[in-house]
């Protein structure tokens, strides 16, 4: 067990690698109740989030549709990354990281209060993620037929209240699946029912190798308040249009964009048999030095993969300092693995 954002969480329940493969090939179950759910309610909720988030909730046309976004400070630094759902015109649901939850809630509440928007933390709710090619079928099997049909008909990145559960077709693994928000007292029952169906329980270790293979950033490791989206591989999440939307951090971010950013977040694949870890140095020929932000052994590729912040250049071959040795690594564009398949040759 490890401390994670103030929560005691298991790194694994058994073999971390078997947990990883279960998600890529069948289905795995994660207790992600440490993430905090905030509901924003009020006539100006959309306006509030269009100020707070670098991505634009006005893009969410259909009820239940979700969006991934960074929340920035005035300096363009990343306060957190989050998922926001538009439940209806005056109700939005935001899911934030555990480690930043208190700070996020205070930051959001301060802006919301000025606009008459209520912010409610749904601490009575638990969150379970069921991920993998067989995940949706396992969840559907536990629902009444009409509810199962609704759940299975959810599009990617859409959530809906179905009976007592809020079911969303989202996740952090690069596989299909659901994230289910339900009353905390019902969570253990759902957990047991899924385990009884053969879904494998997975810990933080597998969650980390899965998200890294999927090329997804981890807040606090790959980005934080000292870094901005443009050097974190997250420019695609910044909604520059419409130009008149003045989200927090925009002015600084536009300056950085115009000047050109000095650093970029890249994927690395190690050519040798060793494992890259966070904070290791990366030597980029002719360009300078960088640093590994997340590194691990990829169970799918049977190689070490990493995210690294490097000088913004064209280098394709770099060297990583692993335990006193300089080992060659290849620069690649994440993701490394998607829907059970390797996206690059090793």
């Amino acid at each position: 067990m490890v401390d994670f954002g103030g929560w005691d969480m298991p790194l694994s329940y058994g073999s971390q690698i078997e947990e990883h493969h279960a998600v890529r090939q069948h289905a795995g179950l994660f207790d992600v109740s440490h993430m905090r759910v905030l509901d924003l309610c009020g006539a100006r909720a959309s306006e509030c989030l269009r100020l707070l988030l670098a991505n634009d909730v006005a893009r969410l046309k259909d009820p239940g549709k979700a969006l991934y976004s960074c929340m920035l400070n005035e300096a363009g630094g990343i306060l957190d990354d989050l998922i926001v759902y538009r439940l209806d015109d005056e109700l939005f649901r935001v899911v934030v990281n555990a480690g930043t939850a208190e700070k996020d809630q205070a930051w959001i509440s301060a802006r919301a209060a000025a606009l008459g928007v209520a912010v409610k933390a749904r601490r009575e709710q638990a969150l379970l993620a069921v991920q993998g090619p067989e995940a949706r079928a396992h969840v559907a099997a536990l629902l009444l037929p009409a509810d199962a049909m609704r759940a299975l008909n959810l599009d990617v990145f859409v959530g809906a209240q179905i009976g007592e559960w809020f079911i969303a077709r989202t996740g952090y693994t690069g596989e299909d699946g659901f994230e289910i928000m339900l009353p905390a007292e019902a969570a253990a029952g759902l957990w047991r029912a899924l385990i009884a169906r053969g879904v494998r329980c997975c810990g933080l270790g597998a969650r980390d190798t899965l998200r890294l293979e999927a090329g997804m950033n981890l807040y606090g490791q790959d980005m934080d308040e000292q870094t901005h989206p443009l050097e974190s591989g997250l420019e695609w999440t910044v909604a520059w249009e419409p130009a008149e939307r003045q989200f927090i951090g925009r002015a600084v971010l536009e300056g950085l964009r115009a000047a050109g950013t000095a650093r970029r977040l890249c994927g690395l694949v190690l050519e040798e048999r060793a494992v890259m870890r966070a904070h290791q140095h990366v030597i980029v020929p002719q360009e300078g030095e960088g640093m590994i932000t997340s590194g691990t052994f990829s169970p799918t590729l049977a190689r070490s993969i990493a995210l690294a912040r490097l000088p913004a250049g064209q280098a394709r071959e770099v060297q990583v300092e692993v335990r006193g040795k300089l080992l060659p690594a290849r620069v690649v564009k994440p993701p490394f693995v998607r829907h059970g398949r390797a996206l690059l040759q090793v």
């Binding site: 790194l11 073999s15 690698i17 190798t209 060793a274 494992v275 870890r277 335990r323």
Partner: protein, 129 residues
């Protein structure tokens, strides 16, 4: 709860050493150690013929969590290494005391083994961590 067979001796740094009765000693890591490391993904074994001092770092086991040095529990010369670990590092997780052995050495003197911990004393060390 980890286990430690009584047919061998142990170092405080979690290696085991078993007298093979032919003048050589087999070395691996304990069940406690493999459990703490988690799934092993790479193993770097010493070269055959290398001379080791007792306590010298001579191999590396890398798991999903971290890389760890393996220290030779005895002084001597490496006479064999477990080639299977190159393609199946998980042998150390699955059979830490049998198929997961790492190397064999010919001790430079006969007294080394007796200076190591017996199984009971080792388990007391491991359980106190």
């Amino acid at each position: 709860m980890s286990n430690a067979p009584a047919d061998r001796r142990y170092a405080r740094s979690h290696e085991w050493a078993r007298d093979l009765g032919d003048g050589t000693v087999e070395v691996g890591i304990s069940d406690h150690a493999q459990n703490a490391l988690g799934d092993l993904v790479f193993v770097e074994v010493p070269e055959t013929g290398r001379t080791l001092a007792a306590g010298e770092a001579c191999a590396v086991v890398e798991s999903v969590k971290a890389a760890s040095d393996i220290y030779s529990p005895l002084g001597g010369t490496v006479v064999a290494v477990n080639e299977q670990l190159a393609s199946a590092p998980e042998l150390i997780n699955q059979q830490p005391y049998e198929g997961g052995w790492i190397f064999r050495l010919r001790p430079s003197d006969g007294a080394g083994l007796a200076a190591l911990l017996d199984a009971k004393a080792y388990l007391a060390v491991a359980d106190s961590e």
